[in-house]
């Protein structure tokens, strides 16, 4: 079921285009990764979804209906640039933001207690934010983001600045919220950090959509057909055996008679064909497919797109 639909959004600032015809869709119980380098337009898009700014054209739908001011209560937003009121006490602060999201005092109190007990931080209630460490403040910010149980969770660079322990904690919470059915839009420039948790992704570069879809489909699409083969035997004989059906991309000697070679399948050859070809020549110790990282996919997609644009 669709939760968020962004349709043909265009946003221009004085002198430059921040978003150029961007469309995407997130589903219930799905983690959607909005990826792209710094300055690609991710934050601009997120601000439009949060109704902090408006688009020049295009529209945003939430649950199939055009997004309205009241829908703010259905969205949880953890900004990249996040701060808290330094002089305010932790409990009061969380209560304040909860009530701004439309929770009653009673509801807010129950949920604050629940989250603080879960994170075992009820002793912070009367601390001022300025007394907290950065990691502690980040937990508070995360609680503020999810306290009103939003249908759509927007996390802008959620792991930046988190220490590894807190990053893991937040990752677990995100997975749990996903299980409960929330749709999560996660934006980051650090592509590798989200690979393992995203179901779908969109790649934005220089205000344009470069690539989008299911992460596995994309990975399949960008499969390079390169395998890493570890063997015992002579590299010379190995390379000769490949002949015209396969190409040797890269090789590395481990010790005197063992090596790792990266081999690309050419034409319609399969991995079986490759194995058949090299088995007589060397002793195979290990075979792995080399899967492109999101970074590689991004670079490849940008290259293709630019190539396409020039045609």
């Amino acid at each position: 079921m669709e939760v968020l639909s962004v349709e043909n959004i265009v946003k221009q600032y004085a002198g430059h285009t921040a978003l150029n015809d961007i469309s995407l869709t997130t589903k219930k119980g799905e983690i959607f990764g909005l990826l792209g380098p710094n300055g690609a337009g991710k934050t601009s898009l997120i601000r439009i979804i949060n109704q902090i700014t408006g688009p020049d054209s295009g529209r945003v739908l939430l649950g199939g209906r055009e997004l309205k001011r009241e829908d703010i209560a259905r969205i949880g937003y953890l900004p990249e640039e996040r701060g808290l009121y330094k002089k305010m006490k932790v409990y009061e602060q969380v209560m304040y933001f909860a009530r701004l999201k439309g929770l009653t005092k009673k509801e807010a109190k129950e949920r604050i207690d629940m989250w603080f007990e879960k994170f075992e931080i009820t002793s912070w209630y009367n601390k001022k934010v300025e007394e907290l460490s950065k990691g502690m403040a980040q937990k508070i910010q995360f609680i503020i983001t999810v306290l009103h149980e939003p249908d759509l969770l927007i996390l802008d660079e959620p792991f930046s600045g988190f220490d590894p322990i807190n990053a893991q904690l937040i990752r677990n919470e995100i997975m749990e919220l996903k299980k409960k059915g929330a749709s999560i839009l996660l934006s980051t420039h650090n592509m590798s950090s989200v690979e393992e948790i995203c179901d779908s992704i969109a790649l934005i570069n220089q205000s344009k959509m470069v690539l989008k879809g299911n992460l596995n489909d994309i990975k399949n699409e960008f499969r390079s057909g390169v395998y890493s083969i570890q063997f015992k035997g002579m590299m010379f004989g190995f390379a000769n055996a490949l002949f015209a059906d396969f190409s040797l991309e890269h090789s590395e000697q481990i010790d005197e008679d063992r090596a790792i070679a990266h081999v690309k399948l050419l034409k319609d050859n399969t991995l079986n064909d490759l194995l058949k070809t090299i088995m007589p020549v060397v002793n195979i110790e290990a075979v792995n497919e080399i899967i492109p990282s999101m970074n590689d996919i991004f670079l490849e997609a940008v290259k293709q797109k630019e190539g396409g644009d020039h045609v």
């Binding site: 902090i52 700014t53 001011r69 900004p79 808290l84 009121y85 330094k86 933001f97 701004l100």
Partner: protein, 443 residues
């Protein structure tokens, strides 16, 4: 509760609960009441002795004035047996030793009118002493002239009419009421500056700490801006209300325990002892007069229309504060840090400072065109108007007009400031120029 309500509550609550707010709110009025007491006390402890030159061409006083058994009388009398023009007294230089010129002309017998020219306005205490002595001397003369006893004369006498004028025809005196008015102007100026400044610092704090990102994902920027302005404004009003109550109680306390004799006629017998056989209603008249023994005390307790001034203070403080508060919020949103704000603030600070200086000019001339114009211009009216109301040189329609113009301007300014605010609070890392600010306003 509405979202704006929640913001107002936070802005208000977080400030009112601060220790510094409590200390300033309680300490300042005590200091003001203390200083007020000191000023009033000093005003009745005056020891300066004035020299009075009595120009008495008909020699009605016969060169004598009974000074009473006062060892240190507030005035000493000298006589000049000829006419003396006040201009000569003022300009010639040979009379510089004398502070006051009193002309007793032949006509005094019929018109009972005596002119008193002073270089510097004497205190009420001195004034009443001089009147008392002159009157007493002339009564003796009149009684003798008619062949009746002094006691009989007093029964049929008419009040003398003393006309006080500054010997310098170009100088108008600053009434104490105007000084009180100016003090209120300064207070309003300080209030506007303090609380509008708090709005700016609040906006900058939210912007630099980035907490604004979280807030405006829940509320509209204008709700945040207005919530902040209103919340902080209510802090100002709370402080003012507490001050008014404490100062009011303090002044009442001072009046009851220290200056009671100024108010209670029964305490006047001693002060008026020299005049024998005075009728009781005359005593009451004198009591009313002696209440004014100190101008300052009289002004504070009777001469200032406090309810009107307090009402107008609240209206003009709110008006001036909303106007400048919105402008300061706009500046806070446009800059990236508090140190950046100084330069951008200049165009907004200028009219505020300018109004303050106009205020100083207006004390000297509350009837002039500057007073009339600057009490209407919305950027200066909150500071100038109360002074004119205290000096009683303004019509009610002028106050209504000024408030209407102020209200209209506030709406315009808030509308423009909100546009700049919503763009500015999300612009990090650079300070906006005025050119950009105007561009955001038009956007």
């Amino acid at each position: 509760m509405s979202k704006t309500g929640l913001i107002i509550q936070r802005e208000y609550g977080s400030r009112v609960r601060k220790k510094s707010f409590l200390i300033i709110t309680l300490l300042v009025p005590l200091i003001i009441a203390g200083l007020g007491f000191l000023a009033m006390w000093l005003s009745v402890q005056e020891t300066k002795q004035v020299k009075v030159l009595v120009a008495d061409p008909e020699n009605l006083c016969n060169g004598k004035i009974f000074v009473g058994d006062n060892a240190n009388p507030p005035a000493i009398f000298y006589f000049y047996e000829d006419y003396l023009e006040p201009s000569v007294f003022y300009e010639s230089g040979q009379y510089d030793d004398y502070d006051i010129l009193i002309g007793i002309r032949k006509e005094v017998i019929t018109n009972k009118s005596i002119k008193v020219f002073y270089r510097e306005r004497m205190s009420k205490q001195t004034e009443y002493y001089i009147r008392d002595r002159i009157e007493l001397r002339l009564e003796e003369y009149f009684a003798m002239d008619r062949g009746i006893t002094l006691t009989e004369y007093r029964r049929i006498r008419q009040e003398f009419n003393f006309i006080l004028e500054n010997v310098d025809p170009y100088k108008t005196d600053t009434e104490p009421a105007q000084i009180v008015g100016f003090a209120i102007s300064i207070l309003i100026f300080i209030f506007i500056l303090t609380y509008a400044g708090q709005v700016m610092r609040g906006v900058i704090e939210e912007k630099t700490s980035r907490v604004v990102e979280i807030v405006i994902s829940s509320v509209k920027p204008i709700q945040l801006m207005m919530g902040k302005i209103i919340g902080i404004g209510l802090v100002g009003l709370t402080q003012f209300a507490i001050w008014a109550v404490i100062i009011g109680l303090g002044l009442t306390f001072i009046r009851i325990f220290f200056f009671q004799d100024m108010v209670d006629p029964s305490n006047l017998a001693d002060a008026l002892a020299p005049i024998e056989g005075m009728s009781p209603d005359l005593l009451t008249d004198q009591a009313a007069a002696v209440t004014r023994e100190s101008d300052l005390i009289w002004i504070i307790y009777n001469g200032i229309p406090w309810p009107t001034l307090i009402t107008l203070f609240v209206l003009y403080f709110m008006g001036g504060y909303l106007l400048y508060g919105a402008l300061f919020a706009m500046i806070g949103a446009a800059v990236d840090s508090e140190t950046d704000s100084q330069q951008v603030m200049i165009p907004v600070m200028l009219p505020l400072m300018f109004s303050y200086f106009i205020g100083i000019l207006v004390i000297a001339n509350p009837n002039g065109p500057a007073a009339a114009w600057f009490s209407q211009i919305p950027f200066s009216s909150p500071i100038i108007m109360l002074q004119l109301v205290a000096a009683d040189t303004i019509e009610i329609w002028q106050v209504v007009l000024s408030l209407t113009i102020l209200a209209g301007t506030i709406i315009l300014i808030i509308w423009g400031a909100a546009k700049v605010y919503r763009t500015g609070i999300l612009m990090y890392g650079k300070k906006a120029s005025w050119k950009e600010i105007f561009k955001w306003m038009r956007h």
